[in-house]
């Protein structure tokens, strides 16, 4: 049951990529391959916890399950404040 440590690693990776923008991140896309050895529902549960802990403000986890052993973060959605 290492999905929690994987969720924490995804959080760490996102903070590294997005910097302070993690607070404006609204969704995280993750590919969880069917042969990756990762249980998608357990990962989703753990990600939900990680992504609602500061500096996160409750981003959604969007999991897809392609064939193969791929296990990667594919994209982030960040909300930009474009008011003048």
């Amino acid at each position: 049951m290492h999905e929690l440590s994987l969720a924490i690693e995804i959080g760490r990776l996102a903070e590294e990529k997005l910097g302070p923008a993690v607070a404006r991140c609204v969704a995280v896309g993750v590919d969880v391959g069917t042969e990756s050895g990762v249980e998608p529902s357990a990962l989703e549960f753990c990600l939900e916890a990680v992504l609602s802990d500061p500096p996160w403000k409750g981003a959604r986890a969007v999991l897809t399950t392609p064939p193969g052993d791929i296990f990667q973060v594919t994209w982030f959605e960040v909300e930009d404040d474009d008011s003048p």
Partner: protein, 223 residues
């Protein structure tokens, strides 16, 4: 407010794999061969290691990293059989060892005086398969008191392994375990697997296991 999508495509295991590569480079530079020993709980990792240390700890300059979920029991048991260092990693509930833990453990081992490093992983047939520790070979213990279908139930562990050691063969007369079928199931998930059958209890097959370790390490290089 507009939502902007940022593509990344970053492998989640990338950090562990980088650290494993670092461990591998450290070991190679020091001339140390590392073996990652994995199995379900109770398959006999610690007992096999006890016998191994009694026989080969000095001739092969063996150091051990023992992962244990909650206690230091395994490391204490192993220390009784060797004057060489047994480095314990208590994982506090974590189900596997990762490359960072092994890299930290190496700081406590005199690599210059080590030729074989045996990493006793946490007893678990699922999680340890996903974590590269920088080892040269992965050995899975498969005991005759388990079902012959273990390789089919836990394919990733057997897919990623190099060797399967069938343990507790002294119990074969008492259990309905078909060792031929068990090995055939292993080969279904990984046709490259090789096998050693041992009983650490009565010594059967142990010479073959010792031979495998000697061969993995190679001849001693005089300094």
């Amino acid at each position: 407010m507009t939502v902007r999508k940022i593509e990344v495509r970053e492998r989640v295991m990338a950090r562990n794999d980088e650290l494993a590569a670092h461990v591998r480079a450290r070991l190679t530079a020091a001339g140390v061969t590392a073996i990652n020993l994995m199995s379900s709980p109770g398959a006999g990792k610690t007992t096999l290691l006890e016998r191994t240390l009694a026989e080969l700890a000095e001739p092969l300059d063996i150091a051990v990293v023992a992962g244990d979920v909650q206690t230091q029991n395994d490391a204490d048991r192993l220390s009784a059989h060797t004057g060489r260092l047994v480095q314990a990693i208590v994982t506090n509930g974590a189900c596997h060892l990762d490359a960072l833990q092994v890299n930290d453990a190496l700081d406590h081992i005199d690599l210059a005086k080590t030729r074989l490093l045996i990493i006793e992983n946490v007893g678990n047939l699922v999680c340890p398969a996903s974590w590269d520790l920088g080892e040269k070979a992965r050995v899975v213990l498969f005991t005759v008191t388990e079902g012959e279908d273990k390789p089919l139930k836990y394919p990733k562990m057997f897919e990623k392994a190099d060797w399967v050691v069938l343990t507790k063969t002294d119990l074969l007369p008492y259990v309905p375990f078909d060792i031929g079928r068990a090995e055939a199931n292993c080969l279904k998930v990984n046709p490259n697997l090789r096998f050693i059958r041992v009983s650490a209890m009565n010594g059967d097959g142990m010479s073959e296991w010792f031979e495998f370790l000697r061969f993995s390490v190679g001849p001693a290089v005089s300094a």
